[in-house]
Amino acid sequence: MANAVDAPKDSFRLSMLIYDTRYRSLTIQVIVLMLFMAGAAWLVDNTVRNLAVLGKDFNFGFLGQRAGYDIAQRLIPYTNADTHARALLVGLLNTLLIAVLGCFAATVIGVIVGVLRLSSNWLVARLMTVYVEMFRNVPLLLWILLVFTAFTEASPLPATFRVNAQTGEAESSMLFGLFAVTNRYTAIPDVLVERGLGSLALGPLSINLTFLAIVAVIAGSLLARRALLRHATAVQEATGLRPKTWWKSLLILILPIAALLWALGVHLSVPAITGFNFTGGVNVSNSFMALWLALSLYTSAFIAEIVRAGILAVSRGQTEAAFALGLRPRRTMSLVILPQALRVIVPPLISQYLNLTKNSSLAIAVGYLDLRGTLGGITLNQTGRELECVLLMMLIYLAISLVISGAMNVYNARIKLKER
C-alpha cells in the first residue's frame, strides 16, 4: 500500500454534511429527530388547546378525592370512603397478585408439559401436543370466558349449602368440611392469628409484623438449609462420601416455622353459610379463579414450547457424554441439560411473563377489578379523566413490565454461558 494517498485535509464545508459519507448519516439522524420532536410538540400543543376548548384541564387532583365505590377483592383495607389513589392501589395489588400467581403456575405447568412433550412415551407426547396446540391457538379471552362460565354454571348456589329446615339437610355439602365451591366463589378457610405481633405504620403503608416474621423465619430456614448442603458438598469433596442430609433438611425447614406458628396461635377459621353468603373464611371469587386458570393454562402452552426448544437446543452428544460418565438420567437432566437449556429458555420466558402480566388486563371481561378495572374502569368513568387515567395506567403497566424484565435480565445474566 505504498502508493495509497491520504485524503486531503480540507477545511470543513457546509455541503459536506450531505455529500460526505462521514457526516451524511449524522445529518439525516438530526433532521429526523427534529421532525419527530416537532411532530410531538404539535400533538401536545393540539391536545392542550383542544382540552382547553372542551373546558378540561390536565391534572391528577382527582386521585385525592373520595372514590365512593366498593371493590370485592381487596388485599389491603379499603372502603368506599377511601380515595381514588387507594382504589388504584387495591387494583394494582390485584393485578400483581394475578401476575405473580399466574407466572408461577404457568411456569410449573409449562415446564412439565414441555418436558413431557419430549417423552418417549407416544401417548403422553401426543397428549401434550394436543394440549399445547389447543391452548395456544384459541384467543385468551375465550378461554377466560369459558372457564368463568364453567365455574358459574357448573357449581351450586351458596344458598344450596344452607340446611333445609324441613328435611334437616343441605342440598350441597362442603369438601372435607373445609371448602365450598359455589357459583360465585370458592370459600376456603381463613388463617387467623391469635397472638399477632401487630403492625408497623410507615406513613400511608402499614407493615404487618406477623407476616414479616413468618417470611423472615422461612427465609432463615432456607439459608440454613443452603449452608447445610454446602457443608455436605465440602465434606463430599474432601472425603468422597456425602453425609445424609435429608432429615436435617426437613428438620431445619419445618421445625422453626412450626414453632413460630404455634407461638402465634395460628388456627383455621372454617367458612360457614350465614345469610346470603359464606362468612368466616376467605371467598376466592370465580372471576379470580377463572382469570388465573385461563391465564396460566394459556401462557403455559407457550412456555412449554420454549422449554422444549431449550432442551432440544442442547446437543444429543451432551446426554451421551453424561451417560458415558455414569450419570443417571435425572442427574443428567438437572446437572447437564437444564443448565445449558436455561440459556435458551430464559430470554423468551421473560416475554411470556410480560405477556401474562399485560394480558391480565382482560380481567374486565369477568368483572375482576384489577388496575384496568379500578383506575381505567370505574375511576375513569366516575371522574371523566380519560387522558389522565389512561396515561397513568400505561405508565404503571410499563413500570411493572420493566421491573419484571429487569429482574429476569439479572437472572439471565447469572445463568448465561460464561465465556472466559
Binding site: 400533538l43 393540539n46 372542551l54 373546558g55 365512593g68 370485592a72 371523566g384
Partner: protein
C-alpha cells in the same frame, strides 16, 4: 417505544377534541343524519326489534329531535353505547345527542362538560331479587352479593346506601345490562340494582317475570335526561325545546293523529305558537317554524310515547307516577312557548 405510545394517545385525544368543537346543528344538517347514543339493549327504552328497527322511549326522543331538525324521524343513526363509553362518545363528537338513561348530576353537568337538556324520566334506584329469597325490604340485604353496572351513579348510591345502613355487601362488577341479567339469572348475585325503570324493563324480558320482585325502597333520585356537549348552546336549546314540545303537546292535547288539524284550526295561541302557525319560534333556534309539528308527528306527544313504549299496557308496565303532567300531580312542567 414509550414515547410513541404516549404521543399516539395524545393524537387520538387531540383528534377527538378537534371534532367536537364545530357547531352541531350544521354538522347534523350537512350529514343529513342525527347520531344518537342509546342503550345497547334495554327493552322499552332502546332496543332493536326483530327486524332491526330501534324502538323505545329514548329512541323516540332521538326520532323527535331528528324530525325537528331534518324533518324526517327515520334519519337517525343509533349508536349503542355502554355505561362506560357514553360520555367519551359524546365528548368526542361520535354522537350528537346522548339519550341513554343518563342521570343528571352536578359533576356530569359541570366537570364532564355535558349539558342536560331536561329530564325525560324521573327515576330512582331500586333492587330486584328472586321471590323465593324471601326478602321484602332492601334493609334485609346485609351480606348479599349485588350485581352492579360499573361507571354509573347507581354504583355510588349503592355504596352510600349500604354504608348509611351499616350493612355489608359484595359487589359484582358488570359491564352491561345484558351481562347483569345473565349473572342475576345464573345466581351470580342475590340482588340486581339499577334504576327502577331499568329493573322493570329487564324483568319484562325474563321467561318468568312473576318470580322476581322489585323491592319497595327507592334509594336515590335519578332524573334521566338527554345530554349534549357543553358549549354548543344552540344545539342544547333545540334538544331542550323538542323535549318541552313533546311534554307541552300532551298538556294541550296535541297528538300525532291530530297535530295537522290542531295546527290549522286550534284557536289556542299557545298551540299555534308551538306548532308554528303563529310567531317565529322556529327561526329563533335556526329551525323551520313547523319543527315541533314534525317532532310530535314522529311518535306522538310525551304521553303517547310513554304508553307505547314503557307504559302500563306494555310488558314493562311502568306507571306514570312522577312522570305525569304537573296538572296530574306529576313533575312534568314544560316551560311556556312564547
Amino acid at each position: 417505544m414509550t414515547k410513541t405510545v404516549f404521543f399516539g394517545t395524545l393524537t387520538v385525544a387531540g383528534l377527538a377534541a378537534g371534532l367536537a368543537s364545530a357547531a352541531t346543528l350544521d354538522d347534523v344538517k350537512a350529514r343529513g343524519e342525527l347520531n344518537c347514543g342509546v342503550n345497547p339493549g334495554l327493552v322499552g327504552f332502546a332496543a332493536p326489534d326483530a327486524s332491526g328497527n330501534w324502538t323505545g322511549f329514548d329512541v323516540s326522543l332521538c326520532r323527535a329531535v331528528a324530525a325537528a331538525v331534518l324533518g324526517d324521524p327515520q334519519k337517525v343513526r343509533f349508536v349503542p353505547t355502554t355505561a362506560e363509553t357514553r360520555f367519551t362518545a359524546l365528548a368526542s363528537g361520535e354522537i350528537d345527542l346522548l339519550a341513554r338513561n343518563t342521570t343528571w348530576t352536578f359533576s356530569r353537568d359541570t366537570d364532564l362538560s355535558m349539558d342536560f337538556a331536561g329530564v325525560n324520566y324521573y327515576d330512582g334506584q331500586g333492587f330486584m331479587v328472586r321471590q323465593d329469597l324471601g326478602v321484602t325490604s332492601a334493609k334485609e340485604l346485609d351480606g348479599a352479593t349485588v350485581c352492579i353496572q360499573t361507571g354509573t351513579t347507581t354504583e355510588l348510591n349503592l355504596a352510600d346506601y349500604f354504608t348509611a345502613n351499616g350493612m355489608t355487601y359484595t359487589p359484582v362488577a358488570i359491564q352491561s345490562n345484558a351481562e347483569g341479567e345473565q349473572q342475576y339469572l345464573a345466581g351470580g348475585c342475590d340482588a340486581y340494582t339499577t334504576d327502577i325503570s331499568g329493573l322493570a324493563s329487564t324483568r319484562a324480558a325474563f321467561a318468568d317475570p312473576e318470580n322476581h320482585v322489585i323491592l319497595p325502597e327507592v334509594i336515590s333520585k335519578e332524573p334521566l335526561g338527554p345530554a349534549v356537549r357543553h358549549g354548543d348552546n344552540q344545539w342544547g336549546d333545540i334538544v331542550r325545546w323538542t323535549l318541552n314540545a313533546l311534554v307541552a303537546a300532551e298538556e294541550y292535547g296535541v297528538t300525532a293523529a291530530n297535530v295537522e288539524d290542531m295546527a290549522a284550526n286550534s284557536p289556542n295561541p299557545e298551540i299555534k305558537r308551538l306548532l308554528g302557525t303563529e310567531g317565529e319560534l322556529g327561526a329563533m333556534t335556526g329551525l323551520p317554524n313547523d319543527w315541533a309539528k314534525h317532532a310530535i308527528a314522529a311518535g306522538g306527544n310525551y304521553g303517547e310515547i310513554f304508553s307505547a313504549t314503557i307504559g302500563e299496557e306494555t310488558p314493562i308496565g311502568l306507571a306514570r307516577g312522577l312522570n305525569a303532567q304537573w296538572t296530574q300531580g306529576g313533575l312534568l312542567y314544560a316551560q311556556p312557548f312564547r
